[in-house]
């Protein structure tokens, strides 16, 4: 019965990670040991099965929308007035937008297109420092400032009757 080191050696042999000398020794062993040969075959089958068969995926956002977020973040980080942020804004605000992925993308795109999340004279979306636990969204044109607190998230209002906790 092979020990773990021997099993790993067979794998390393398959992957071309052994020195010439070691590889020759393993080749001799494989020719004489049936169990070792069977293990090598399994590892080789798996490797061949995977090779070139990665499932291609498409990014589920339009070119324009995806780029608009990247461009915005680049410009934001390059702006000298911007204080260092903890996280990119799209991460901080993702959870507050409508939860369905496609709808969230549309809302965000609409907000960006409508100038509410970008462009001139428009809401700053700031992430406050982690120690305050608050996110601030300010829309000077609309006259709204929203401060979203990370607490009392589940404690102050984490009672069994959601409406009664606000009484």
């Amino acid at each position: 019965m092979m020990d773990h080191d021997e099993q790993l050696k067979i794998q390393a042999y398959l992957d071309g990670e052994l020195s010439e000398t070691e590889a020759r020794e393993v080749a001799i062993w494989l020719a004489q040991d049936q169990d070792a040969g069977v293990l090598l075959a399994e590892l080789r089958n798996t490797r061949q099965g995977l090779a070139g068969y990665e499932q291609p995926v498409q990014l589920p956002e339009s070119r324009e929308f995806f780029w608009s977020k990247i461009e915005r973040e680049i410009l934001r980080q390059e702006s000298p007035q911007t204080a260092p942020q903890i996280v990119p804004w799209w991460i901080a605000w993702r959870r507050l937008l409508m939860p369905v992925g496609g709808t969230a993308a549309l809302v965000l795109a609409a907000l960006i297109a409508g100038g509410l999340l970008g462009g001139s004279g428009r809401p700053a979306m700031e992430t406050a420092a982690a120690d305050t636990g608050a996110l601030t969204y300010r829309d000077d044109d609309g006259g709204n400032t929203l401060v979203w607190l990370s607490y009392p998230a589940e404690n102050e209002f984490a009672e069994s009757q959601p409406a009664s906790t606000l009484q």
Binding site: W93, L96, L97, M98, P99, V107, L111, L116, L117, T132, A134, Y137, D139, G142, G143, N144, T145, L146, V147, W148, L149, S150, Y151, P152, A153, E154, N155, E156, F157, A158, E159, S160, Q161, P162, A163, S164, T165, L166, Q167
Partner: protein
């Protein structure tokens, strides 16, 4: 002569309204006393990046804060808000939950602007405290 300081003080009192609001995707609040928020507030809430479709008014208070004074208003058994009038349309706001300070910040609040404070509540709902100037 008559002192003008009293008149001046009253003229500069900041008149505020605070509302405690519950945000939900349910069509109705389980509490029949809760009414949907005013249309103007609803419109403002729609402008914010929030995911809830319905908002209900839980409590509403109106109060005046003289210059340099601080006023605390309870909104529920567990939460209250404290406002200090800093002058020049500026206020210092402190949010309390279960007697503990939850948040403190300085905001400019001229007429027409609204400050929203909010956070998550159970069952994917939210609470909001809104503060605005009134005439």
């Amino acid at each position: 002569m008559f002192g003008s300081s009293g008149l001046r003080a009253h003229a500069e009192d900041m008149k505020l309204e605070v509302q405690l609001i519950w945000g939900t995707n349910d069509d109705q609040s389980p509490d029949k006393n809760h009414q949907p928020v005013d249309p103007d507030i609803k419109k403002r809430l729609k402008e914010l990046p929030l995911k809830w479709s319905n908002y209900f008014l839980v409590n509403r208070k109106r109060f005046d804060v003289p210059p340099s004074a601080t006023k605390r208003e309870p909104l529920s058994e567990k939460c209250s808000i404290e406002v200090k009038n800093l002058g020049n349309d500026s206020i210092e706001v402190t949010q309390f939950g279960k007697g503990q300070q939850v948040w403190k910040g300085t905001q400019s609040l001229p007429k027409g602007k609204i400050l929203f404070l909010g956070g998550k509540a159970p069952n994917e709902t939210s609470w909001l405290v809104i503060l605005k100037r009134i005439e």
